[in-house]
Subunit: 100 residues, 3 copies
């Protein structure tokens, strides 16, 4: 079976940032994404998002060329200002045409 | 510590497809899975699942031999007909016996 | 763009175990994590967590040195006693300082 190499970007932040993050992804050329409601704690053990309505986890599968664009956006507009973490991993997709 | 290489298959689709997808996984020999409720947008920016009760994300950790079986099932019964995307990645598990 | 290699540990278990698992992670030196509510079935097809309030999925991004510590804790305190599965995968993070 024929798989195409892609990157999965995962972003975790306060729910209040959802629209702004999705706008940032959209402006980076990302049209498809999945959002989950989560809760959690930050790296110093504090509860994150409990008072503001929880956290969200955004996942998007993209071509490798989008990774730098997305992380440049995150490191400019989100990482310095908000409790926001993100990571990237390798995935394979069967149908190339459904992903950015 | 001793880890065994497995594959993580992630499927995102409308909630209405959950039972049919789980039946398809079961028929492919997959007995263990995890389902999350998510929301999101498709690759052309349209909201997916908003009117039908949201989307689901199904995750299952399987031996490599199951990957082709599952994606053959998805590409025959789901990809051509529904808003359904899927990807596969490498994971390691500690206890081999708990996974297909 | 500069990414640092980390490990993503994913743990799925009954919701009733959340506090005990988070305590175990905390004692292993893990301060940051994300918890999702999920449902699912175990490897023998039984529904897991349906009567006890569902399952949880805990995700944490850690330095490689923590993986053995966490899986030693899981295999001592959880795997033999509870419906609990876990897997590990490779991820990259942009901001090292936010992760254990």
């Amino acid at each position: 079976m024929d798989f195409v190499a892609k990157k999965l970007i995962t972003i975790v932040a306060e729910s209040a940032l959802e629209k702004r993050l999705l706008d940032g992804l959209h402006d980076s050329g990302i049209k498809g994404y999945t959002v989950s409601t989560v809760h959690g704690a930050g790296p110093r053990g504090q509860r994150v998002g409990d008072l503001q309505g929880g956290n969200i986890k955004i996942e998007c599968v993209v071509s490798e060329g989008y990774v730098d664009t997305v992380f440049a956006m995150l490191s400019k507009d989100f990482f310095p200002h908000y409790a926001c973490v993100a990571w990237v991993s390798d995935v394979g997709v069967f149908r190339d045409e459904h992903f950015a």
